[in-house]
Symmetry: C2
Subunit: 182 residues, 2 copies
């Protein structure tokens, strides 16, 4: 079986929350799910076309004074059903590749400073991520308009995931820097 196009479901997911153009979808992704899912224009636009051809989304031209009309996509009932069918399926876990670990594994002939530099970089990155997640969590929790939104606990859980992950990575970086210096 060919690998399923996950972008398809990501776009359906976004459109299930709010209609919008390809550009809007990209913005939405960047501001909400970017820490665990990325999409780029070169993929969004062709997949939107495919989705429309399949009848999973519909396109309407929205007039904009002064600007060329914008293509606004909305999810159809068929699209909602297709999304639902995918959501209830068990998660397929795809193998991940962690370049830092690959380098580390083969780095026994490298100068120690170079290895420590990489680990320090990683620590900094995750420190900064941790702050980002904390801010995002605070913002979400403070948003009155979302107080009773049934999606809120799930959205918060994706941020919590990031926090747990970043904290674990911080600790690992520190431990490893200690371990290899001995």
């Amino acid at each position: 079986m060919a690998k399923v196009n996950k972008t398809k479901y990501a776009l359906l997911g976004v459109l299930s929350l709010t209609s919008g153009s390809g550009y809007d979808i990209k913005k939405f992704c960047d501001s909400t799910i970017a820490h665990f899912w990325n999409e780029n224009y070169a993929h969004i636009y062709p997949v939107l076309k495919d989705l429309e051809a399949e009848g999973l989304v519909s396109k309407t031209a929205e007039q904009n004074e002064g600007r060329p009309p914008k293509s606004v996509y909305s999810i159809t009932d068929k699209g909602r059903e297709e999304l639902h069918q995918w959501l209830i399926l068990p998660v397929e876990d795809s193998p991940h590749r962690i370049e830092l670990l690959l380098k580390l594994f083969f780095s026994s002939d490298l100068p120690l400073e170079n290895i420590i530099e990489k680990l320090t970089e990683a620590r900094k990155k995750h420190e900064s991520l941790l702050e980002d997640y904390q801010k995002a969590e605070d913002l979400l929790k403070a948003d009155e308009s979302l107080k009773d939104n049934k999606g809120l606990p799930l959205w918060l859980s994706t941020i919590s995931f990031g926090k747990y992950h970043a904290e674990a990575m911080l600790k690992w970086c520190e431990e490893t820097i200690q371990a290899i210096q001995k």
Copy 2:
């Protein structure tokens, strides 16, 4: 800039530790770096050919009684240099896609049991991984022949990474199951 072929460096890395056939390389990967790096035959064989054409590895036919000769690849000085040059470069972090989180984010209309099922699956998976890592660590530490191997601390660190990660995921799964049930 086109994306660099990381498989190339993975293969050079493996061959920098021990010579072997494509088959041997795959086995090595599966038993040592599989938890953060995967390779498959369909990629290994053509890349080995490329590496040979570039003069980064050399091939010798090893006679095997009863069996067809085996192609044994060894890293060349040029290959070692190429690997080194890549190893000292900073790590490029590539975006990862976490399907569980994508589903979670859009799952507010799903039955709660279905979501909990997914989280329970994930918890089980990471529990089992944690055990695997612990065993791997124990084995590595008990191996007398590796006692003074300069690679050991780095290899252990990749396992420690897995442990930190799995522990964090366990906690997150439990917390999230609690949070969404309220």
